[in-house]
Every structure is written in C-alpha cells, then in structure tokens.
C-alpha cells in the first residue's frame, strides 16, 4: 500500500460520511415548502435548523484536507481516478444509513468502478 492510496481512502471516508449527513438533511428539506425564496436563502435558513447540514459540511472540509494531501503526494490523473472509490463507499453507506436499496445496475456499476480503480492503482 502506498501513501497516496491510503490518503485517498481516508479522504473519501470523510467525504462519504459528509455526503450521508448532507443527504439526510436534503431528505428532510424535500418535505418543506419553498415559498419561492432563492435557494441560497433557503440554504442559509436550513443550516440553522438542521445540524446535520453543517456537520456534513465540516466533515467534508476535513475530507478535503486529506484530499489535498493525497493530491500533493501523487500524480493528478492517478489521485483523481482513485477518488472514484467514493461511489463504492457511498453505495454501502447509503444502504446502511439511509436504507437505500442495492439493485443489479448499482452492483454492476460498482464492480466496474472497482475494476477501474484496481487497474488505476497498479498503473505506475
């Protein structure tokens, strides 16, 4: 295991947790009436009402710092492609925390992405 790979894995773990928090808030927001206010006003209003929104944002910022460290340690084309591991993390995280179903197209897609990441990881 090289340093870049570990940094990408850590970064994407944080990013996925952040995404789950944001998606949880978004699911709640969908139930609300919008009253025709601009999206930025609605966003600021909901930041105050839903803690998962700013917790999610903060967690993603930590992930972003690890992402910078990953970028600094390796080639851009290598690091960016490895970053697609987020789709795999998200599949399982969404299943366990948001009760989203894993169906055949998602599974095929995830297997293809895994194959792509393995090929990228060995491409040195």
């Amino acid at each position: 295991m090289n340093k870049t790979l570990i940094l990408v894995l850590v970064a994407e773990c944080w990013m996925t947790i952040g995404q789950i928090c944001l998606k949880k808030s978004a699911n709640r927001l969908n139930g609300e009436r919008t009253d025709g206010k601009p999206w930025i006003i609605r966003l600021l209003g909901s930041i105050l009402r839903y803690p998962t929104l700013w917790i999610g944002g903060a967690v993603m910022l930590v992930g972003l710092l690890f992402w910078f460290a990953a970028l600094a340690s390796g080639e851009l084309s290598f690091v960016y492609l490895l970053g697609s591991i987020q789709y795999i993390f998200a599949l399982f995280a969404a299943h366990f925390f948001l009760h989203e179903k894993i169906n055949t197209p998602k599974l095929i897609g995830t297997l293809l992405i895994t194959l792509g990441i393995i090929l990228t990881a060995v491409s040195k």
């Binding site: 969908n30 080639e75 492609l81 697609s84 992405i113 792509g116 990441i117």
Partner: protein, 139 residues
C-alpha cells in the same frame, strides 16, 4: 410519499450548467495540484505552513483552485436540486476524461495504458450506477 417530477428531456440550461461544473472541477483540481506541487507530508504543521507560505507564488494557484472548488460545490448542489442524479451523474463523469487530458497538457504527466483502461471502467461503472431506478424513502 411526495411526488417525484421526472424531467425526461434535459433542458439546455441544465446541460450547460453541468458542462460548466465539469470544466470548473477540472480547473480547480488542476490549480490545486499545480499549487501544491509535490509537498513534503512528513508533518501536518509543515503541510499547513506550506499552504500559507505566500512567498511561494505557486500557492496562490492553490487558493484560487480552492475557491473555484467551493463555488463548484454549491453549483453542483444547485444542479442536483433541479435534475435527477441519474441524468447529472453520467454527464459529471466527463471530468474523469478531462482531468487526465489536462494532467498531460499542463502538468506533463504520463498516463499509462492501464490507467486509461481503468478510466474506461470507472466511467462505464458510473453510467451503470446512475441507470438504477431509485426509490426515495419518505422522511
């Protein structure tokens, strides 16, 4: 359960917004990478010191890249609120093709054939993931 309105035909405005988002992401990642260079990661403090060392002119590229990245995050949220993820995601995976090209042109990276093959599988995988019908759990 709330109603889900499906947009069958992608409006040109949304399509252009996604393309702009792809281009912004490519620019942000490129500037951040160019600004960081190959930084010594031996300690966290030296990494942060490197980020605020404005004597190094390259670090400005990092901060411009970061601002574009954060702006793009809100743009992406805005796109997702207007269209289905299954429509936005395959178009967003365009940046997986743009980034290696940008890395070759502007960072003089060498992209080996196995990495190109990996890219093909990743983009194909993102397409499959986005084609799955999603069910929204009522809050």
């Amino acid at each position: 359960m709330e109603k889900i309105t499906k947009i069958k035909q992608l409006p040109l405005k949304i399509f252009l917004l996604i393309v702009i988002s792809d281009l912004l992401d490519t620019n942000a990642q490129l500037l951040i990478k160019k600004g960081l260079g190959l930084t010594d990661l031996s300690s966290i403090t030296s990494f942060f010191q490197h980020l605020i060392n404005f004597a190094n002119p390259d670090i400005f590229l990092f901060w411009i890249g970061l601002m574009i990245y954060l702006f793009n995050f809100f743009l992406w949220m805005n796109i997702l609120s207007k269209t289905d993820l299954s429509v936005a995601l395959p178009l967003a995976s365009f940046s997986y093709i743009l980034i290696p090209i940008a890395a070759i042109l502007f960072l003089h990276e060498f992209v080996p054939p196995t990495r190109w093959l990996g890219l093909v599988f990743i983009v194909l995988g993102i397409y499959f993931v986005s084609q799955s019908k999603y069910s929204r759990v009522s809050p």
